[in-house]
Symmetry: C2
Subunit: 664 residues, 2 copies
């Protein structure tokens, strides 16, 4: 990205003196994964309980708004229970008479639902009495899917339609083939002011890491910023892999624009909420981490926090707040062969081994319960109510290298029924070599991988059966006419995103393509039809292969198509570039050719509504909202710091492939 903006190093993240009238108070949290294990008799309500705690903290700390960085929901299609509970909690804790003190300076209709009149920002709606606005981007779990009349939608869209959440960073709806090729990523900020403090919120919902990486490298990420951008405190929210998982499967920390002051990094579950400076960059990164452990991996055992983020002018301060409702979780790794020596027992004496493992688990339970007691004691000191104890999560990783046979871990766990929350999977066995792989899986999205060690037998079973079902279903169709190319992707969509129409959509589109092909071959009699079909189908296949390399794809079906096979990564995106694998390390010298304006469609509504905005606001009729004069409320016009000549029409690039890009 460009080096426009100042190169001065930002001040250390503390506020010298916080002046209430000029200090924004923000509750920062992310990856709440509501609905995780919701059917579990013990842990079923963990995610919702902690989300409730977070909302209560927002009220207690009298924040101006709540900021979330994705994966509010664990399932792409949250259960009715989840949606109901989240709706109820948001209505209960974020609506009310508390006056809103942050003035919205950007267009309240930027990103609003096309079909409806209400604004995108809930507290700009005179019919809603909002006390604490919630701003969020989507994550890889709750990203937009489908191609209905309103385009791809996610669970946040529903909450946004009911006025309970302000959904940001949904930049990525391919509206047409042309769009899909040229869109890049355009980030239009939510601009807020409190007293002298000006805050720009730049949200980028999750996209596939490879694509994000590519867009950043090829200057196609356009942040639209006020001209006096350096007088603003700029927060960039994103939800991507930060830990490296092979070529381009993560986003480098140093790749963001120098105008950014703070990057809020969602998706990674380890709590690294205390801001960390980035070498050679003027911004800090805060990684709040998830508010619930969705895998029993090391990172998840770090104590979970949210934070009170205070911003005054260009200074900020982050006060971590430990979460009290999170289940205590401790894990340990033992290497049996070593243990056997130290404690002197026979590796193949199962009774002895099991006796040893039980002693370890008991030790871990005590340790976990102590964690809980200490945390509780601290809170009580600070004047909070004590909480009743929770069963802890305990995980013992056993390196069984050299051991011929191990006893059944599930039976082993039964012994701890009623003392731990996860008796079924307290033990995991592995051999030395497997360690790296399995830990990689858990860092990523374990819930979505069938090989996932964390999955219960039944979960795996049902997933497998789902795929069987889909394959059967497809078998029943005229499959010999269809390319297999997009099929496995579609199947994955069906299984992972619970998108029951992914298949149908793919089949329909593929068939349409075939029909067109057949027609192109003019009149054919029944006899020749088969040959024609085969011919067309091959052609179709080649095109698919091409497309999934260039990322070029059509509306809707693209969601199912242009993703790779890595079932660990649930992030789906319709325009990604396959830059890894098969000698595809592309030469990007002529990036500029790729740097094209966003669809003018995007800018049009903004202009249109600029004048309308105040009108929308007029009816607020002194309900104690927004302590600001309305003449200050005209919408700020933005400039792209990436691309000056953005009003040029898009080049008519009909079919661009990596090869083409290199050759030109």
């Amino acid at each position: 990205m460009s080096d426009a903006g100042r190169d001065s190093v930002p001040p250390a993240p503390t506020l010298r003196h916080a002046d209430p009238d000029n200090t924004m108070r923000i509750l920062l949290a992310t990856d709440n994964h509501i609905g995780y294990l919701e059917r579990d008799p013990i842990r079923g309500q963990d995610s919702i309980n902690t989300f409730k705690e977070i909302l209560q903290l927002a009220v207690k700390h009298d924040v101006d708004f709540i900021l979330l960085a994705g994966d509010l929901f664990h399932e792409n299609r949250p259960s009715r229970d989840c949606l109901y509970q989240v709706t109820g909690l948001l209505r209960q804790y974020t609506m009310g008479d508390k006056p809103i003190q942050v003035e919205l300076l950007s267009d309240p209709n930027e990103g609003k639902a096309a079909s409806y009149d209400f604004p995108a920002i809930n507290y700009e709606d005179p019919n809603l009495n909002v006390a604490i606005p919630v701003f969020s981007i989507h994550g890889n779990h709750d990203d937009p899917q489908g191609a209905g009349p309103e385009g791809a939608l996610c669970a946040l869209d529903v909450l946004s339609a009911s006025g309970l959440i302000n959904y940001m960073g949904k930049f990525d709806l391919p509206l047409s083939e042309a769009d899909a090729q040229t869109a890049g990523i355009a980030i239009r900020p939510v601009l807020l002011r409190k007293g002298t403090t000006h805050l720009g919120l730049y949200g980028v919902g999750n996209v596939k890491d490879q694509r994000m990486h590519f867009e950043l490298r090829s200057n196609r990420v356009r942040m639209y910023m006020p001209r006096n951008r350096d007088e603003w405190f700029n927060i960039l929210l994103l939800h991507q892999n930060r830990v490296r998982h092979g070529a381009q499967e993560s986003v480098p920390e140093g790749m963001f624009d120098d105008s950014v002051d703070l990057v809020v990094w969602g998706h990674e579950h380890d709590c690294r909420i205390v801001p960390e400076p980035v070498a050679g960059k003027p911004y800090y990164i805060t990684q709040p981490g998830s508010s619930i452990a969705t895998s029993l991996a090391d990172g998840e055992s770090i104590e979970k926090h949210v934070a009170l983020l205070q911003i005054q002018d260009k200074e900020f301060e982050m006060k971590p707040i430990p979460l009290r409702t999170v289940r205590p979780f401790v894990l340990e790794e033992v290497v049996l062969s070593e243990a056997a020596e130290e404690e002197d027992f026979e590796l193949n004496d199962q009774i002895a081994v099991s006796k040893f493992l039980k002693s370890r688990v008991n030790a871990l339970i005590d340790q976990a319960n102590k964690l809980w007691d200490d945390r509780n004691a601290r809170a009580v000191e600070d004047g909070d109510e004590p909480l009743p104890p929770m069963l802890p999560l305990v995980r013992l990783k056993v390196d069984t290298t050299g051991v011929s046979e191990m006893s059944n871990p599930i039976r082993f766990g039964q012994e701890f029924q009623g003392r731990i929350a996860n008796p079924r999977d307290v033990l995991v066995f592995h051999r030395a070599k497997r360690t790296t792989r399995s830990s990689k899986v858990t860092i990523d999205q374990p819930e979505l991988s069938i090989d996932d060690p964390e999955l219960s037998i039944t979960e795996k079973l049902s997933k497998v059966r789902m795929q069987t079902l889909v394959k059967e279903y497809l078998a029943a169709q005229e499959l010999q006419l269809l390319g297999e190319g997009g099929m496995s992707d579609a199947i994955q969509m069906f299984v992972e995103k619970d998108d029951s129409h992914a298949i149908q959509t793919h089949v329909t589109t593929a068939l349409k393509a075939l029909m067109k092909g057949v027609q192109a071959n003019g009149e054919v009699d029944e006899g020749d039809l088969d040959n024609v079909l085969v011919k067309v189908r091959e052609q179709h296949e080649t095109e698919y292969a091409e497309r999934s390399r260039t990322g070029k794809t059509a509306k809707g079906k693209g969601k199912g198509k242009a993703r790779d096979e890595d079932s660990d990564n649930a992030s789906v995106d319709s325009m990604m570039m396959e830059v890894d694998g098969g000698g595809s390390d592309v030469d990007f010298d002529n990036d500029e050719d790729l740097d094209v304006p966003p669809p003018t469609k995007k800018t049009a509504p903004k202009r249109a509504t600029t004048t309308k905005a105040p009108a929308k606001k007029a009816p607020v009729k002194g309900r104690g909202k927004k302590a600001v004069e309305s003449e200050e409320e005209e919408v700020i016009d933005l400039e792209s710091i990436e691309d000056e000549d953005e009003d040029e029409p898009a080049p008519k690039s009909t079919k661009r492939t990596n090869r083409a890009a290199v050759l030109r």
Copy 2:
């Protein structure tokens, strides 16, 4: 039901002179079936378009509120698109500054969500600026399902949590075994006042017809009414079969209490919205009918209407309003053998037959288009905008009795691509005898039956495969230990209600029961275990059979359990009595023994909140809402007109069966 209340015949349904200040204006509609065929490229948006029209009519006719009688949603778990669109439309058209002129006299917290503080009636929430409240009961399509932390939930609960709908008539959450036995149906009204007019809304969400029938006959339907009930205009909303489908598979028109003035009958799709008197009863029945055709049956071809219902004191008037966005639909039945004689062609000359059928379909298309033009013309006369024409729905039922072979109806339909909205199923063939059955099916819920002639091949396929999937899944479990009894029900829940947990719930509960049984048999060694299990399992089976006859069942799993096999009827209920079939025509002489108070739990919250209610209302802070003095706002206390001694404790009836009831 009792004959308490007056026996005078009500006035003819016209208002002599409507005094605006004392006249309630209500938009009456039902069975919007939003989401029906939502994936259909032509008809996909029909249901939502018409729902939008209905909301616009409510605004245009300046109504005090909207009244719906169930099946707002077609799918029990509406797609994200549906939920999003309905949420958006409700927010857009029902929120706003129009002052609410109907005062709520009943407890605003009656039926509120237990976990949250906001009231059950959205316009009592000071944080929402409601212009047109929407009141609705659930239907058989969108009825409560599941047994999550909040109990059974339906789509209306989600809309209610977001404050967009006032969900009434959810009386039926079995809280315990005892409950399930003794609950009956308790109807607590929403009581409204406008000037001198007092209106009681008595909502009864859909329950299985057999159960409703039984509850009515055995005096277990308790309407809680103000003491001066005769000064109120009382509306009963229900969603049941009105057309008879065999013993107790419908609800007789004459079975309701004489205090009722108007019955609003949902579920039946034929428009019979003009109020009809009931022989020997003082009340009228209005059957608005669906706002979309969900089957191509005769009843659905009647022009669709909603109505403006005006009520002043004890008088009312119903003004039907034709719906303009409904697709014109005509159907015709031809008997080929007769046609062959009249038009003199050979029954087995396929070309001639097909030529004849095409001429008939063409005639129907003209007829349908004329319908549309006339409707449009009428509207334009009344000063409305003309609408662009829609492709019509056309159905030709062909009696093929005596014809050996017919050509493929789908290929036949292709000829009409672009001229009708349903080319794929314009023709249905049947033989004389099948007529009655198939028409029964279509009157009922065709979408849920796999035999349903209206289902597309793919739809059937997927349903069948779903069931296969479930069976496979179960096969993988320790099935030999489980009773088959509840299984098929659970499977049906899975398929029809998209309740992916029905199976799991059933299995878990059944297994729990088994464990208990085994423990009851004290210490057993591995050897005997099998015998014990067999024994227990048989016992378990008998109990299940018993339960499904008596309707006694446990929380949650009941939803899956106590329903019969009739896949035509989607109405699910946990407490129904199987009074039909197998010599079970029970003697109800001692009904009184069955007439027991509702769980005291139900009355408790009411008391508790009576005093709280005004407090909740205080913060309304003159936003022009509710033009009424708050001292009038104390909650009216109700009496059950069914049951005077309702404060008696519930009789400790441990396990009541029909037999027991008869013997005593």
